[in-house]
């Protein structure tokens, strides 16, 4: 239905952060003094507007919760129509709230975290740009506009990973993220082209309405291309390698972009395109496989890294693996994938900000082997991190428990093997999160000599407390009060099937796996002293420290062949093509050098050659005439 009342302001949700970004980035140093506050203000205003819209939307009946707003016709070429048009429905709504609310909290936190940075005005400009682009992504009503947001968040991610670009590692990480994302973006653009060829339109409603008419092959092709896009943006196997390097960026960026929002865009894309994936069985199965593989890879990497942010990044990969698996399961899983996305967005943002708070007190050291006993000096960070820790492991009644348990149960409804694998993954989650928690907050202090940890200022701890409250209660609130299934059902569909095991057994198995993981971590890291230098470790540990050789595989399969091909092309260009061109020029030059000797300046010899030529012509004419 057309947007009226408060919903006619959908454009304003996006316009405010983008205006903030414009003012901060164009205004330059003049805005240094008040720039960060403007950045916080625009995002907070969007958040307030989002919550007002939520209340208004809840007042409508479920069929009347989709609002369309067309601003203007954007591209109109022949049959190809793309409007600057937004669609706010239940799915977009929860994303808007996640992005603006968590984004707003992270903006506030950044005020403290970046207080000593010379360029913090620019930082807030980039953050605003990110929020605006992400809102375009989730509010677009056609794939082309979604693509604009998709590229916009990729750009913001690049700028923010490389924010400290004077560090070569940060600059390289930004480039790496951008290049790997480009691979996924190619998938999305090809999917859009294929949709236009097949359906004659790229609007969500046209495509989903006509999805049943397309052939299986086409639908699977579109689905696999969309999966490629999702894998790039969401750091799923085989495009996962960039996320761990992306931790070079400032910690609020890791929390906002590389944990809570942008990396979940792939899940949004798949859930949004549910009409296609419901009909494309091969593509949906591939989604599940990719999700499960990434879930294990991330968990294993997270178990071995000593860098707290990289360990959390592995955890993010793993949790997004859960979400991708859930949305690959079909109508039994879409709502729970989004549910986990929301709870994860809150508790993982809390965990990252907690890690940032610890780093802030430890002179930006990220090595957990140099932490320990931080509970004694940073009590608020300790408590809030504990809330996130319990939530991500899925301990009832924390948020993560409800969402993760629902995914595991949905997996059992569809496929028992997937369910068992997800339970094993939950056990590994218990291990690596407990390991991180013990190494950071418990045990004995292993601090470096000149470190004097202290609790972070209020501007940082208050967002932490709010996110911790969310980590505790959001799951229950969404499930029991918000009825997430019925809320999302009109958009993504929902059906429940008979599962081979009951909900209670699934919960018990999940908790048992987590318990085993926690116990192993406890025995290994709490009962024994933690060496300051990393031990050699088993082959699995060493492989996990190397990020399961993802970079080596990329190098061997893509980078090295590309470099070899590039060098070969250079050689062919320099020797072959240039040789041909330069050679012919040299040949003509040498020939001319010989020929010009005949230009003697002796007029009578010219006359002789003219006469000789004329005689030859006459002789030829006579010969031809005679024959």
């Amino acid at each position: 239905m057309p947007a009226e009342g408060v919903f006619s302001l959908i454009w304003l949700l996006i316009a405010m952060p983008l205006a903030g970004a414009t003012v901060l980035l164009v205004g330059g140093r003049r805005t240094n003094a008040w720039g960060p506050y403007l950045g916080i203000l625009t995002v907070s205003a969007s958040a307030v507007l989002g919550w007002i819209m939520l209340v208004a939307m809840m007042g409508n009946s479920p069929e009347e919760r989709t609002f369309d707003q067309t601003l203007f016709s954007w591209v109109s070429v022949g049959d190809f129509q793309a409007d600057m048009a937004f669609q706010l429905d239940q799915l977009s709504m929860v994303f808007v709230l996640l992005i603006t609310t968590v984004g707003g909290l992270i903006h506030i936190y950044s005020l403290g975290y970046m207080s000593h940075d010379r360029d913090r005005r620019k930082f807030f400009g980039f953050l605003n740009l990110f929020v605006g682009a992400m809102l375009i992504l989730v509010l677009a009503n056609n794939y082309l506009l979604l693509y604009v947001g998709w590229e916009g968040v990729g750009l913001a991610s690049y700028l923010l990973i490389g924010f400290w670009q004077y560090k070569p590692s940060a600059a390289a990480a930004a480039k790496k993220a951008f290049v790997i994302n480009r691979v996924g973006d190619v998938g999305l653009s090809l999917a859009i082209m294929l949709m236009f060829i097949t359906f004659g339109s790229i609007g969500f409603q046209d495509v989903f309405g006509a999805a049943g008419e397309a052939s299986d092959g086409t639908l699977n092709a579109i689905g696999l291309l969309l999966l490629l896009a999702a894998a790039g943006k969401s750091a799923q196997f085989p495009l996962q390698a960039w996320l761990l390097d992306a931790m070079e960026g400032p910690t609020p960026v890791s929390a906002l972009i590389h944990a809570a929002t942008m990396v979940t865009a792939g899940v949004y894309l798949i859930a949004r395109s549910n009409a296609i994936f419901n009909l494309a069985e091969i593509a949906a199965l591939t989604v599940v496989i990719v999700g499960v593989v990434t879930m294990f890879m991330g968990a294993i990497i997270g178990s071995a890294k000593d860098d707290i942010k990289k360990s959390l990044a592995g955890s993010t990969m793993s949790q997004i693996g859960y979400m991708v698996t859930a949305v690959g399961l079909g109508p039994v899983g879409y709502v729970f994938g989004i549910f986990h996305l929301l709870t994860h967005g809150v508790f993982k943002a809390g965990l990252f900000l907690g890690a940032g708070s610890v780093m802030h007190g430890m002179n930006d050291n990220v090595n957990m082997r140099r932490y320990g006993a931080i509970r004694t000096v940073m009590f608020i960070t300790f408590i809030t991190f504990a809330a996130g820790w319990l939530s991500i492991m899925g301990i009832p009644p924390f948020s993560g428990f409800w969402s993760k348990d629902e995914i595991i149960h949905a997996a059992f409804e569809q496929n028992t093997l997937t369910g068992i694998l997800l339970i094993i993954g939950a056990g590994i989650t218990g291990f690596y999160m407990t390991r991180m928690f013990i190494m950071t907050f418990l045990g004995k202090a292993r601090w470096e000599d000149d470190v004097h940890p202290h609790e972070s200022p209020k501007v940082m701890t208050i967002p932490l407390i709010i996110l911790a409250i969310g980590s505790v209660f959001l799951g229950m609130a969404l499930l029991f009060w918000g009825n997430i299934e019925t809320w999302l059902e009109p958009v993504v569909g929902y059906e429940s099937k008979e599962a081979p095991i009951s909900t209670g057994v699934a919960i018990a198995l999940g908790l048992l796996a987590v318990g085993i993981g926690v116990l192993i971590a406890y025995l290994q890291y709490q009962r024994k002293p933690i060496p300051v230098e990393a031990p050699h470790g088993s082959w699995l540990t060493r492989a996990a420290r190397e990020e399961l050789y993802g970079n080596q595989v990329n190098n061997a399969l893509v980078v090295t062949p590309t470099l070899v091909a590039a060098k070969a092309a250079t050689a062919v260009d320099a020797k072959g093509i240039d040789g041909l061109v330069n050679g012919s020029a040299a040949f003509v030059g040498a020939l001319s050098g010989r020929l010009r000797r005949y230009q003697t300046g002796f007029a009578r010899s010219y006359a002789l050659s003219m006469v000789g030529g004329a005689v030859l012509v006459v002789l030829a004419l006579i010969l031809v005439g005679a024959s």
Binding site: Q599, T600, G601, F602, A603, A607
Partner: protein, 99 residues
């Protein structure tokens, strides 16, 4: 009278002119030889016009005369100028325009 004789005369005059251009050094003589070649051609044109019984050849002969007159003006001017600067009318001496 047989027109062939005129053609033969024309060929003889042309050959004398061509040889004159090739072997003589004095620019004036060379110039005169060129005129001789032109007029040999004129003679051939007129003879052929007579043989064919139309006026085309005669018309061309007039054209050639006009062009030759113009050429004489330019050519003599160049020769005089060269003579003034180099004190010589030899066509072998001005050889600066070479490789």
């Amino acid at each position: 009278m047989n027109p062939e004789n005129y053609i033969i005369l024309s060929a003889v005059l042309f050959t004398i002119g061509a040889l004159g251009v090739l072997v003589r050094r004095n620019a004036i003589i060379v110039f005169m030889s060129v005129e001789l070649m032109l007029n040999a051609a004129n003679l051939a044109f007129v003879a052929f016009a007579r043989m064919n019984g139309n006026l085309d050849g005669q018309t061309v002969a007039f054209f050639v005369m006009v062009v030759a007159a113009a050429e004489v003006v330019v050519g003599l001017a160049i020769i005089v100028t060269i003579f003034r600067t180099r004190r010589s009318a030899s066509i072998d001496e001005p050889n600066l325009l070479k490789y």
